[in-house]
């Protein structure tokens, strides 16, 4: 009986969580019979089991709730009041279950109040009557729902064979043929620990065998190794759970809060299927709940305040989760009033966290970070919901424990967004072991694109622009830094001696020079000590096969550090800090700064430049009134930026080479100044052809050059050769991007490729154009945009029959496999990196051709 009771308690608790979520959904969609059927079945099962186990109190309450729900199912309207009472009943059932788990018997007490209320509502709803009536209906609905509803509403551990027509009997005797079994979490944890140890031991053995060339252990060890790998993967899989499990309770919590606070709150959840290790999941569950509560209570305004601020009355809390480079990013954003910077500052001063004088020097972002300090809460009134002084510091402690980080971005009046970055699992990854500055390091294999040796004369060369090294890799220029330098271990060896590990983070590609490369190894990731976790260059540490400890390099940290060339890490941290939320214009871009025709600085995104060349001016020839040079067996036209640029008669002539397939052209410049990493934010647009506008780059006003303008000057048929659509009618494309820079940069490129281009600065603006009757053959949209992001935009387009068939191409500065997958689900036909001009054009051709065929 004990086992039976325990199983009942576990299962019922799970079912009740589902009921919670479903009820909130039901309230929003009262006509959805499927949801109602779901709820009804769950409550009915509870009732039935209670009867069987002899739990009269639970049975009576469940029965009354079921009766009322029966009315809804028979068509009575579900009122807010009725749902509230049912939710209250569910809560009561939960508390009884809790007591049951503790004392093995039902607690004393009466539920007459709730039962009375339920019955009263039943009467009022009016349908002919009592609970007995609904009985026959129950069994029929039961039979229908079994196939389609049973599985999704339970988690994976629910025995599939268990759902049976005589539900109470099924509980009593679990049958053979079950597809899954329940396993205690402790068992899995223990298994995982053992596997981690096994991996370490296996690595040790491999290390020993590596030293003995001819060993009879080699073959069996290889087999052991393979089996270990599979075992490891299997055990890891058993521990992965969708993050949605941690979110399950949130809709209910938000609903209750909204009710209590008199607010309207819309909770959006994206990426609920993102899986992560259950150990990690357990630890973030409470922080997430707490933060959502916070957003609802402090973040969102009352409907009246929102109306006054010109926002929709219904506030929005947006929860999203996705994978990025071995981490999981969870974001909680609201569109409320934002953090109260002045009050946080005042409180920080009052609590002695910072002196008044120092506080004046802090940026808003730095002030916002005070909310993570112990005992910090700014809620003016302590409400029932939050503001009890145990706030974000607790959240941060929990996240610290699992080696994660939390960051906050707030824009006054526009909302707050918290970004939590946590490791995917506290487990095992494949890593490349390298040496730099006399120390060994592990670089996660997932971020490594390729390994090259740079030597003079080969296709990959290391070049210097002032003090900045860049790697010329085939037709790309990549920023390059030595790992030893990045880690403050001296200057490292000459780039030409060692290896260069090409890493990719999002769409950012860069080279990291190391002194030597050893081998790859499966490493067990252990979180950094909390005293060392502030070092952004490392994501953790590990014990190698030989027993030594080494640091695991965090590619994200390296990417940031490579950005700030001069002031290194600090500058990069500053830049990251000053990013306003979710604005693509704020992302940093590698810019090539040069001078041409005037002493003023000019710049062009480095990723657009194919090569930097310095040629002997004597090799420049004049042909057909144009400057040309012979370059790699072809004639390459030289274009002057403007009349003031002089093509030199002798000496070295610097050139920026742009290539597109077989065509290359070069822009003649006076001097290449530097490569810098900065936000590209065009502040003053320009009328001058060839100049997009002016931006501040490293504190200097700089002209941003429109490469798209110069390409057709070199070849009149640039982009129009083979890939120009044969038809006379031009395909039309709608370009949606909130960044004026990208709109300006892509428009001429697309026009040159033969498209008719319309632009919109936001998704709502684009939808307006569509609503106004404009039609497009293809839509190209940015992903990171305020208001409506690219995914939501695509979903909206899919939902509208007028636009459902239009191919949509997503462009993003971060193209990861996950993002692409997310995009496909949202309805994107293709996904291209922002700077990948050729990729975009190829994709456009393909999509508009497909469209034509269809």
């Amino acid at each position: 009986m004990d086992d039976l009771l325990r199983e009942f308690v576990t299962e019922t608790s799970e079912s009740l969580d589902v009921v919670d979520v479903e009820l909130v959904r039901f309230e929003q969609e009262p006509n959805n019979a499927e949801i109602l059927g779901n709820i009804f079945r769950l409550v009915h099962t509870i009732k039935g089991t209670c009867g069987f186990l002899g739990l009269p109190r639970l049975e009576a309450l469940a029965h009354a709730a079921e009766t009322l729900m029966g009315k809804f199912r028979d068509g009575a309207p579900a009122t807010r009041e009725a749902v509230s009472v049912i939710l209250a009943s569910i809560d009561r059932i939960k508390s009884i279950i809790d007591a049951l788990a503790r004392d093995q018997r039902e607690p004393d007490g009466s539920d007459a109040d709730l039962i009375g209320e339920l019955e009263r509502l039943c009467q009022r709803v009016g349908a002919p009557a009592a609970g007995v009536e609904s009985k026959p209906a129950v069994t029929t609905s039961q039979a229908i729902e079994i196939e389609d509803v049973a599985a999704p509403c339970m988690d994976g551990t629910q025995p599939a064979g268990e759902v049976d027509t005589a539900e109470s009997v099924a509980k009593a005797e679990p049958k053979g043929g079950n597809q899954s079994i329940r396993v205690a979490v402790d068992t899995l944890d223990h298994l995982m620990d053992m596997v981690s140890e096994l991996v370490l031991t296996r690595n040790q053995l491999l290390e020993i065998v590596r030293r003995h060339e001819e060993s009879e252990f080699k073959a069996p060890l290889q087999r052991l190794s393979n089996v270990t790998a599979e075992l490891q993967e299997g055990v890891m899989k058993t521990r992965m759970q969708p993050i949605g499990n941690a979110w399950q309770k949130l809709p209910r919590i938000v609903r209750d809060l909204a009710e209590e606070l008199g607010k309207q709150i819309d909770l959006e959840m994206h990426g609920a299927e993102t899986e992560l290790d259950r150990q990690v999941l357990d630890l973030i569950k409470d922080p997430l709940t707490h933060m959502v509560r916070n957003s609802a209570d402090h973040g969102l305004e009352t409907p009246a305040e929102r109306r006054a601020a010109g926002k929709p009355e219904c506030g929005r809390i947006r929860l999203s989760a996705y994978h990025e480079g071995g981490h999981i990013i969870i974001r909680i954003a609201d569109d409320g009033r934002g953090l109260d910077t002045a009050r946080i500052k005042a409180k920080a001063i009052a609590q002695g966290l910072v002196s008044e004088a120092d506080a004046q020097k802090l940026s808003d972002a730095q002030i916002h970070k005070f909310i993570f300090f112990p005992g910090f809460s700014t809620a003016a009134t302590v409400t029932n919901i939050s503001g009890r002084g145990v706030g974000m510091d607790v959240v941060r402690t929990n996240i610290d424990q699992i080696g994660g980080t939390i960051d906050v971005k707030s824009v006054a009046g526009a909302g707050v967004s918290f970004t939590i970055k946590i490791p995917l699992t506290l487990a095992i990854v494949s890593a490349l072991i390298v040496t730099a500055g006399g120390e060994h390091f592990a670089i996660p294999q997932i971020a490594v694109v390729e390994l090259v040796r740079a030597r003079g004369g080969s296709d990959h060369r290391v070049e210097r622009i002032r003090d900045t090294a860049v790697l010329r890799l085939r037709d790309k220029l990549l920023p390059l830094a030595h790992l030893a330098t990045l880690l403050g271990l001296g200057n490292g060896s000459d780039h030409e001696q060692g290896y260069i590990v090409v890493l990719q983070v999002g769409s950012q590609c860069f080279g990291v020079a190391v002194d030597g490369v050893f081998h790859t190894e499966e490493i067990v990731v252990k979180p950094m000590s909390s005293r060392l976790r502030h070092i952004t260059m490392f994501s953790g540490n590990t014990i190698l096969g030989d027993g030594s400890v080494i640091m695991i390099v965090d590619p994200n940290g390296i990417a940031q550090a490579i950005g700030g060339t001069v002031s290194g890490q600090l500058a990069a941290a500053e830049v990251a800090e000053s990013k306003p939320m979710e604005s693509s214009a704020a992302e940093t871009t590698s810019l090539l700064v040069f001078r041409a025709g005037s002493p003023h600085a000019k710049a062009v995104p480095l990723s657009l430049v194919t090569r930097l060349e310095e040629i002997d001016a004597k090799t420049i020839e004049l042909s057909n009134g144009r400057h040309m040079i012979q370059y790699r067996g072809q004639l390459m036209p030289l274009i002057r930026m403007n009349e003031d640029v002089r093509v030199k008669g002798e000496g070295p002539q610097p050139l920026l080479v742009f290539s597109d397939g077989s065509h290359s052209m070069a822009l003649v410049v006076d001097e290449i100044v530097d490569i810098v990493e900065d936000r590209l934010d065009i502040q003053v647009a320009s009328d001058t052809p060839g100049v997009l506008g002016s931006a501040i780059v490293k504190g200097q006003a700089t002209e941003i050059i429109d490469v798209g303008h110069f390409l057709p000057l070199a070849f009149e048929d640039w982009f129009r050769r083979k890939d120009r659509p044969a038809r006379v009618e031009r395909r039309s494309v709608l370009l949606v991007d909130d960044s004026p820079f990208f709109r300006n940069m892509l428009t001429p490129v697309l026009q040159a490729a033969g498209f008719k281009v319309a632009v919109a600065s936001s998704a709502p603006a684009a939808l307006e154009m569509i609503n106004a009757g404009e039609t497009f053959d293809v839509i190209v949209t940015d992903i990171e945009m305020p208001e409506l992001n690219g995914y939501e935009f695509a979903e909206k387009l899919r939902a509208d029959p007028r636009t459902a068939a239009i191919p949509v191409i997503g462009i993003s500065s971060t193209v990861s496999a996950e993002a692409a997958e997310h995009g496909r689900r949202a309805g994107f036909h293709d996904f291209v990196a922002k700077f990948d001009r050729q990729g975009l054009i190829a994709s456009l051709k393909e999509q508009s051709e497909l469209d034509r065929v269809a």
């Binding site: 000590s529 909390s530 502030h534 540490n541």
Partner: protein, 153 residues
């Protein structure tokens, strides 16, 4: 050790010398005493962090107590010892010059820090005991481990 309940005011302390000064650590906080081997430096770490090492499958963070306490740096050829402590599930090793005997001290006899104690020492000291030949400073382990990573970086 078994007698520690004889008098509730008596505490047992593991003693250690660091740069000639005698320190005491509450014995209940001490996990083990070991000779650190194969220490891995941690680039960009605060200067007090001497490195990390593997102790029976656990990663232990070593804290150079001389630096932590603002004392003279060690001459490189003297072999150091480490006292293992734990906090919030993490293992640390406090790098000291030599470990001494275990002393039983009356907590009531502990005196407050002299006001002219250096700030580095005052921050981590839980008080002073006057022994026959010398003074013993009782270390507050939690405060020793409370390295402000951000300030150091």
């Amino acid at each position: 050790m078994r007698n520690k309940t004889d008098n509730i005011n008596t505490g047992e302390y593991v003693t250690a010398t660091i740069d000639g000064q005698l320190f005491g650590l509450p014995i209940l906080r001490v996990q083990d005493v070991f000779m650190p081997e194969r220490v891995t430096r941690v680039p960009l770490a605060p200067p007090e962090i001497a490195g990390v090492l593997n102790m029976r499958g656990r990663i232990v963070t070593l804290i150079d107590m001389r630096r932590r306490l603002g004392l003279r740096p060690r001459e490189s050829d003297t072999a150091a010892m480490a006292i293992g402590v734990e906090t919030r599930g993490e293992s640390y090793g406090l790098l000291i010059d030599a470990v001494g005997e275990v002393l039983k001290l009356d907590d009531n006899a502990r005196e407050q820090n002299p006001v002219n104690l250096s700030p580095e020492l005052a921050r981590v000291s839980a008080g002073i005991h006057r022994l026959e030949e010398q003074l013993l400073m009782v270390l507050d382990v939690d405060r020793v481990l409370d390295i402000d990573a951000r300030a150091a970086a």
